[in-house]
Chain length 219, copies 2
């Protein structure tokens, strides 16, 4: 099945919102990002759902299906590769390329985008540091590691989470652990492998090994 330009934009935006919010994405959030009225978004979500690209329950927000995510990843891949092209080859500044890439991301040719990828030397991140999915939709390993694998006194930055469950993320919120937080491992308890960490600007907290396993950091 083919995707219209509007559909591609919706899928891409739902994907982007999902990157930082692992829960269902609200109609209003999409509305704000797409700069279209919530009423129009509502309508489109229903259509995307009928096509099997999102799971959508009225009033309950939206989430990409595997197939929807595959499409979204291909758009994101194109967007980010074109951004690299614009900065590295066309000599644009990193802050001038977004709008043009928004257009280029809809060019339909797998062969072109794979040749472009090769031409650019298979970059792993775009000019803003965002990861570029490979041709199979796999995001590159950016060297993030589980907090559970870090040694005491390590300083690191919270870059992501390894699971998206609501209970897990609500726990992180309660612990005041958010993306980008600067952490220092103060102590690892050998008894249950629980960790005592300091969070820059916040109070130090205890977290279980189970939680630490699901926190991704960059040292």
């Amino acid at each position: 099945m083919t995707t219209s330009l509007a559909e591609e934009n919706y899928l891409k935006i739902i994907y982007r919102l999902s990157e930082t919010n692992p829960n269902e994405i609200s109609t209003n959030a999409v509305s704000e990002m797409t700069q279209t009225k919530a009423a129009s978004v509502s309508d489109m979500l229903r259509k995307l759902s009928e096509k099997g690209w999102v799971n959508y329950q009225k009033y309950q927000g939206v989430r990409l299906t595997d197939e929807g995510q595959k499409i979204a990843l291909s758009i994101v891949r194109k967007h980010r590769l074109w951004e690299v092209f614009l900065v590295e080859k066309m000599r644009f500044n990193w802050d001038e390329v977004h709008e043009i890439a928004e257009q280029l991301e809809h060019i339909e040719s797998d062969e072109l985008i794979n040749k472009l990828d090769a031409f650019l030397g298979f970059p792993k991140v775009d000019p803003h540091g965002d990861p570029i999915p490979n041709k199979d939709g796999i995001l590159p390993d950016l060297g993030y590691q589980s907090l559970a694998d870090c040694k005491p006194n390590t300083q690191c930055k919270l870059m992501g989470v390894a699971q998206d469950s609501t209970v897990f993320l609500q726990l992180l919120t309660k612990l005041e652990l958010s993306l980008g937080a600067k952490l220092t491992i103060l102590e690892i308890n050998s008894f249950d492998r629980s960790i005592y960490i300091s969070i820059e600007g916040k109070n130090p907290v205890f977290i279980s090994h189970e939680v630490a396993k699901n926190i991704l950091v960059k040292i």
Copy 2:
């Protein structure tokens, strides 16, 4: 004023048809090129006319205005530059690039296309030998010269005409002189500078200096 994708395609196609047919372009000709029904074309020509991009009289065919031609030339410039990019940088074959260029030609950014032009070394022709307009919409000098400036016994090929008037072109038709014709100058009469030329596969003919001036050839 901005142009929609559909409008750009119509203007481009009218331009292309005008390249080989200097008279008004018929609704049917456009219909065939755009792969849309004549009824839809009729409607669009009326709209393009209202916007001042074409001169259009019902039942009388269509012709680009200066402003319409300017838009068309910018699309053609983009199309042909992207084709060069696809062949020279992306290593596509010359027969694989048309469809992709049809998409890329609608990317809106003068800065991008001018940077691309520079990146490619300001090419004068696309991979099919078609001339690429510069940023001011001027077509490059491909070394075509007036038949009136050629010496006796010169062999050359008819590449274009310097004027599009109906009477002139009807005369050329009558003389069996068409684009691509291979000519040999047999004799130039000093009295009135009229020329006797042989046309490959046709009968030799006499043409006046006035006519010869308006015929463009490549030696």
